[in-house]
Amino acid sequence: MTQAIYNGVLNLAAGAFLLAAVLVVWRREVRAIVRLLAWQGLALAAIPLAEGIYQDDAALIAVGVVVLLLRAVALPLLLARAVGTEAHERRESTPLVNTTTSLLITAALTVLAYAVTRPVIALDPSPATRAVPAAFAVILIAVFVMVSRRQAVSQAVGFMMLDNGIAATAFLITSGVPLIVELGASLDVLFAVLVLGLLTGHMRATFGGTDLDQLRELRG
């Protein structure tokens, strides 16, 4: 793999990674959001794969494959199963912040991410670190998604985007994470998603929906 192709793939992956996060903010259809998450997982997996192939590092390639299977396939599948069949659960009908404002906030967060990661890039300017702002922006956007969404599944998507962002930052800054660390983190997320799946099931049984605002009723 030549330097140019490596650069291209890395940039492309970072761009797609960020784009997927933006589209998650944009869309309201929960299924579409989960599908976007799968695409984001694919973009995330491309980073260690590209680095692994470029540096001839089998462990990194293995990490990439694990990430691919877990984040682009397994987790979205699990989440998709958690999406209810009721019409009102398949859409974020009334997000707490309207879409236009959400998009503008996303713009602000991204610009902020670019600004605050400048010193990080300045430490070691390389194609990989140049993509860090995108990963960091995804972290901020993920937090925003978690803050502004009502449906439990969208919350879970936000959580997973957060984790994707952290993983991407780690890959880009350290040029690769040991396999064991990545496995640990990914398993963590897997468990979290399983628990969330259980919880949404319970919520649906109890409240007849997964609108998180209804949790307020739990307060005595």
């Binding site: 940039n11 960020l18 784009l19």
Partner: protein
């Protein structure tokens, strides 16, 4: 200008003629793609040309109370579009008009056409004319930030907003084209071009219901040759914008600033193919989507604005040292 050779003038003239002749065919092709995907036979690629020839033979009607604005607006829309066709680097890079108007100028000319038509819609003094104008100008106002930011993003690699410089920079450095900035700008520009040319999901070009119209509502009063000019112009707008998009992001095959006859031929064939592929993809995509509610269009445009802003930011920050 010194770079203005005979061949570049020839290439520019060919561009204008090709857009004039080809634009209705592009629209016909798009309708045909849609018809086939819907299981219909379709009117054929030449249908818009038949319609045009027929409209040109029909009586011209001037509604009572309208002014010269109504009479001239079709010619202004068509004129601005023809001028844009002469400026853009479609077949070759060295249009003699390239130094006269950069991408900002082209966007301005585009809006000049839009404004002429909205004024014509208001000039009729009908309820639907005003409604169409109001909607069209609202969308245009919201499209402008995205367009200019996308122009900004595109001008970063070439250090210029002049079209030949942008396209030449892209052709010299194809690595830039897969950069996040370029991709985001592509998506943003695609959305605003869809909005500006009145395609789905912003406007439905084949609607019969006045209350859902945007572009069509403004031109309800036009008949005969003026109607022909309006429809011709809107086909040409679509064609030149698709051509612009094609060459900004896929610049291969375009002839140089001082082209040879063979270069012009290749450039012509290549740009025609690119436009046809893009138009076909657009038409195929439209089969799967419905028109957005008018007040959700601003969401779409806010999204495209965000993408354009990210494009600029990304092209600044990613700006990989191009050794």
């Amino acid at each position: 200008m010194s770079a203005m050779s005979v061949m570049s003038v020839v290439a520019t003239l060919l561009q204008v003629v090709a857009v004039l002749v080809g634009a209705p065919l592009v629209v016909g092709g798009m309708r045909q793609v849609r018809a086939r995907l819907e299981g219909r036979a379709g009117g054929g690629v030449g249908q818009p040309w038949r319609d045009l020839r027929k409209q040109l033979r029909k009586q011209q009607i001037t509604p009572l109370g309208t002014t010269v604005v109504f009479a001239l607006a079709p010619a202004v829309v068509a004129g601005t579009t023809l001028l844009i066709a002469a400026i853009l680097p479609l077949i070759s890079l060295g249009s003699p008009l390239d130094p006269a108007a950069d991408l900002f100028g082209v966007v301005g000319l585009l809006f000049l056409g839009t404004v002429a038509l909205t004024l014509a819609g208001l000039d009729t003094g009908t309820a639907f004319g005003g409604m169409g104008s109001s909607r069209e100008i609202t969308i245009a106002a919201l499209v402008e930030p995205t367009i200019l930011l996308a122009v900004f993003a595109l001008s970063v690699p070439g250090q210029s907003a002049n079209l030949a410089a942008i396209v030449a920079a892209a052709a010299d450095n194809p690595g830039q084209l897969v950069s996040p900035g370029s991709l985001l700008a592509f998506v943003a520009l695609a959305i605003v071009i869809i909005a500006e040319t009145g395609r789905l999901p912003v406007d439905n070009p084949s609607t019969h219901l006045e209350l859902t119209m945007i572009h069509e509502a403004m031109v309800l009063e036009y008949a005969g040759p003026r109607l022909a000019l309006v429809e011709w112009a809107s086909a040409m707008r679509l064609t030149v914008l698709l051509g612009l998009m094609a060459n900004l992001f896929l610049p291969w095959g375009i002839a140089g600033a001082d082209p040879s006859p063979l270069g012009i031929l290749i450039g012509f064939v290549v740009i025609s193919l690119k436009i046809l592929v893009l138009a076909g993809a657009l038409a195929a995509g439209e089969v799967f989507i419905a028109k957005l509610r008018y007040f959700r269009v601003p969401e779409l445009l806010a999204g495209s604005f965000l993408l354009a802003l990210l494009a600029v930011t990304a092209s600044y920050f990613f700006a990989t040292p191009t050794n």
